[in-house]
Amino acid sequence: MSECADCHGCGSPAVLEFPRNAQAPKAVAVIGPPNSGKTTLFNRLTGLRQKVANFPGVTVEQHTGILELPDGRALQIIDLPGVYSLNPRSEDEQVAHDVLTGKRTDTPRPEAVLLVLDSTNLGRHLMLAAPILALGLPTLIILNMADDLRNRGGKLDLAALSKELGSPVALVSARGGEGVDKVFEFLAGVMAKPAPRELPILQDVPKCRAWAGRVSGQASYRAPIPPKWTRRLDSVFLHPIAGPLVFLVVVIAVFQTIFSIADPSKKAVEWLINLSGHWLAAALPEGLLKSLLIEGVWEGVGSVIVFLPQVLLLFLFIGILEDSGYLARAALIADRTMAKVGLQGKSFIPLLSAYACAVPAIMSTRTIENKRDRFATILIAPFMTCSARFPVYALIVAAFIPERQVLGSLLSQRTMAMLGLYVLGFVAAVVTARVLKSSILKSGRTPFLLEMPSYRWPTVQSLGLRLLDRSKVFLRRAGTIILLVTVILWISMNVPYVHGKPPAPESSLAGTIGRTLEPAIKPLGFNWKIGIGLITALAARETIIATLGTIYGMDPKTQELGLQNALHHDLTPGGAFALLVFFAFAMQCISTIAVVRRETGGWKWPILQFTYMSVLAYAGAFVANHLIH
């Protein structure tokens, strides 16, 4: 007996057939519990590439994309943050709730709903179906992760479930693409309001769960066996001794790889840039344009681009952590440390993602229910070593620390120095959190609840797409902000003209500004060139590399040395150490300031944060400079 015969007989909405309809809804919302795969489905439907990862709370704001139906009509698909119920507790849940109930002015009110549930845990996930069906909007119930369900021996009767819920049901694997055609059919078809057999009292959680249990029972739902590999891996990763040890070894190995294996690739990019630079230099006539392109753009922007392979390697590592499901375990292990400073494990996830970039990290604090905890996390996130600091550290470390092995051949001094800088940022964050949580942001505790996702293999495709996107972001920054700053710098290095010749670097406009600033930064061991670098780094941290590349490239004394050697000759070891500390603490990032203003709803917190971090950076650099002296 087929499933279809079942449902035609009783006249309930069909599981497999959807008659065509000329009046498709304009906006369709994708909703579901956290980590049920909503964004994976959204990306598949719209062809967009919103970020997905294997832990709850990746999506924290609504995203809209256009889906084109086979007949040419276009629909707006709205991807929403995950919710456990329609009683929001955190900022991201509030967003989902408001969009769904039409309370947001920036997003159209959805006319239909795609409810994405994890088919491997249907009993509990069906609880969310009650409040969603009660909205009265046409709903397709998508049971995601069909492949997992099958592999682990679970099954269910789709027709019976569809009958119970009075809505069409589709078994889908958003990751593999299986069953996605059913979603298209639903969207193109006639949509009826849901007619569930019964709905529980929505405010009563036990009744909702009992209802969900009854419904999944009617659908002969057989839960899959627990994921064996997740248990096995957890007994290693959550082992009291082996767990933290494995983490430490992996982190050290990654840094070691970034320095050793990535070095040849860096050389290759450097070679390419030099080659194209020479070629360009030969093709261009002597003059200002040549000077701008070679000394300005090639030396400046080029010196940033050489770090692309290393930054990508870092992102590959972060991507594997996020996609595999390990991140949630890391948050678990870190929770105790976080508790000591008054925060909770949930704050650790934004802090970890701040190693990539503080901007999305600050956005992802929306999953933290307690507002004061959330603000404290926002305020400390920029201390984490973001990927824009990485090239700066790598340059200075390579210029001043000799490549020597410690502990046999396991570790190099450079790796140690890099790790030390990462730890320095983390310590600054934790101490600041302690101060904040025991003073202006003191609060009662909210229970720490974190769902542990099953481990999954990161797919080559998803990691590849991430790296591609990151390369684009990196190159776009190099081609816009950094290029612009470099051109402005080049111009200010070339005025005023003396006797028809460009001025000496010290007496140019940039040199004058730098030397005016010099007395203020002298105690830190910085000269005027570094001073100019610090100013341009306000636009984006790695701009200092381009700036120094340009300045040293234009100075006849350092022209032939290459950036790394020029820096080595220009700065004392104390100054270099001070510069590292300065970058570890300072908030040199316009985008971060902007996102803090948006997320905290005013200028008060970003101004406080910027001032605090700047003072700390100055004081830290002062101490660092005098320690080495």
Partner: protein, 122 residues
């Protein structure tokens, strides 16, 4: 056909749940009845121990979120692995694994089944 199949494999978890819940419905604050097994805090369970949740001794909002995650009175909870030092600990409940801090688990009272080995109440 669907009806027949339903009888064959009814998920044991939901069966347990249904029973427990109908008996102690919205009782979340104090212990009424069932004095046979004394209730102990969830935090006392050791790794691999299973017990049935009796009530949650937390403010309404927090208790509600815990219930939405599957911590409902009458549900069987199994203590799993923990972070180094035993805090927080992962609990297996209602088909998922949820990490809770000791301070939260201390406020959740459970009853161990008489035969400690079998998690199911029958």
């Amino acid at each position: 056909m669907a009806v027949k199949r339903r009888k064959k494999h009814k998920p044991p978890l939901d069966k347990d749940f249904g029973r427990g819940h109908t008996e102690i419905e919205m009782q979340l604050s104090s212990n009424s009845g069932q004095p046979e097994v004394p209730s102990v805090p969830l935090v006392d369970l050791r790794r691999g121990d299973a017990a049935v949740l009796d009530h949650i001794d937390l403010p309404g909002d927090d208790a509600r979120r815990l219930m939405e995650l599957g911590f409902l009175p009458g549900t069987t909870i199994t203590a799993g692995l923990s972070a180094p030092g035993g805090d927080p600990r992962v609990f297996q409940v209602d088909g998922s694994e949820i990490a809770l801090r000791r301070e939260t688990a201390r406020r959740m009272m459970v009853r161990k089944p008489k035969s400690a080995k079998t998690p199911r109440i029958s």
